[in-house]
Symmetry: C2
């Protein structure tokens, strides 16, 4: 190893892993703010001429990674659609995450996990610990047991250079019965404020504690007084394209926080498969729409 | 097949599977209201002289099932502790669930899953559909996205004779920042009322939509105005024994709803292993305490 390379490697080793928030900010700056969802729904598998089995699941997943790995800032495999195939499906997810890492694209395991104490620590071990077969760059979490119940994942993510996205405010109508409750001190607002507090441990443009906020929430941020700009973390916004939001909607909805928004498109892009060229064109068109929108 | 057996089988087929709530009520009446948690924490594996690997996980899980299958109303494997070992760990969970079914004890997969739409349907497929490798008698769910977002699981459970336990009110202090929000219309109360409404589709002593309510919540039910007796479903109450609640505490906390309470003990019983005789004695003592308490 040349002396300069050895010195550079030593610098990286002594400073620990680079935080997820910094890595994601760099990827969004270089490639645009697009995350491609990997959603192997039974209907999509059929549209692609694949069987609804483990072989179809693997073919689908690896095709998406191959197509978008150099174009998207991140990919987001939907864990439920692997779990649906049992442990064999989870093994496909492990391979998908490994291939994404090798291909140089950040991964967000959309698992929406949440528990307390040593059980939450076990979920953190699964998704955020070096050496775990399911380790991803980041994982989505669900805070019904309180933001602070997620502590083991928050701390392990900081330690291992990984990230989390905590469910805050979603677009589905039934989400209001939990997230909007509490008036000016709503559940969603408390989650956003806790994430902001947590991101104080990170320097740089963006912390490693993100939120999930639906792209089609309309005026709910204003209504509930959520200050997403103060979160200083990435905002994962599902709902672009097939689910209804345009790039202009995103800018209008997120306002000052828009630079931190990582928009997710799944079906709008996946419908262009299984041809790699089709997936690439759809990804580029979606990304360009975000950059121009 | 003798004519009477054929007629009996026909009767079963035409009436569909027996609902989970009825099966659980029968098990609780016959064996007492005890659920044994299967929690293969790294520390417990070490205490049992097992490695923190897939072989240790399997040995631990199958030992617990063998010991308690004829004594407990249900067993509750903690999914995070299998997921921590990746897809190979999930395969051990599949075997554990299959062995529990063969041994005639009801299973509660403690997965705390929750999502929306077709993604929630995929989680329902994983845990509640006939033929799924991970199918359990019931699964725990997390309602941050709203009780109604769980609809695919509620409906599939009804169809397949399985059940769900929805997180409502937990004992961890940080849970208040979500569950207690909303005053007289708190998040936890809304969840309990939605479960009560949902259980109207079930006749018999107990519906198949249960709630998770911590055994050590103290006076929170009264404080928040939760009427668990009106839920007409099972109340899964973790926190018996090692986590701090006595049988007398349970009766005081749950009042009129106590007959529906399925108390869960994990570490208090598991600490008596790995000897089968020790696990059996601890299970019997815990169960007898509940019956006398």
């Amino acid at each position: 190893m040349p002396e300069s390379a050895a010195a550079a490697q030593q610098a990286v080793l002594s400073s620990g892993p680079q935080p997820f928030g910094s890595r994601l900010a760099a990827a969004m700056a270089a490639r645009g703010p697009l995350c491609v969802g990997i959603d192997p729904h039974p209907g999509l598998l059929a549209d692609w001429g694949l069987n609804d089995d483990v072989a179809g699941l693997e073919r689908f997943s690896l095709t998406v990674v191959e197509a978008v790995a150099t174009l998207a800032a991140a990919v987001k495999p939907q864990v439920a659609l692997y779990e649906r195939h049992g442990s064999a499906g989870m093994a496909v997810l492990e391979r998908t995450l490994a291939v994404a890492a090798d291909a140089g694209v950040l991964s967000i395991a959309d698992a929406k996990r949440g528990d307390i104490g040593s059980t939450m620590a076990a979920y953190a071990d699964a998704w955020l610990r070096d050496g775990s077969a399911l380790a991803a760059d980041s994982v989505t979490l669900s805070p019904y047991l309180g933001f602070e119940s997620l502590r083991p994942a928050l701390d392990l993510a900081a330690e291992s250079g990984r990230g989390v996205f905590v469910l805050a405010l979603t677009s589905n109508p039934e989400g209001k019965s939990v997230q909007h409750v509490g008036g000016s001190e709503s559940v969603a607002r408390r989650i956003a404020e806790a994430a902001a507090e947590e991101n104080r441990r990170y320097s740089g443009a963006m912390g490693s504690v993100g939120l999930v906020v639906g792209a089609t929430i309309g005026g709910a941020l204003t209504e509930l007084g959520l200050d997403l700009d103060a979160v200083h973390g990435p905002i994962l916004a599902p709902g672009l394209g097939a689910q209804g939001a345009t790039p202009a909607d995103l800018r209008a909805t997120f306002g000052a926080a828009y630079p931190a928004v990582l928009a997710t498109s799944s079906r709008g892009i996946l419908a262009a498969g299984p041809a790699i060229a089709g997936l690439r064109s759809a990804t580029e068109a979606t990304r360009d729409g975000l950059l121009e929108g």
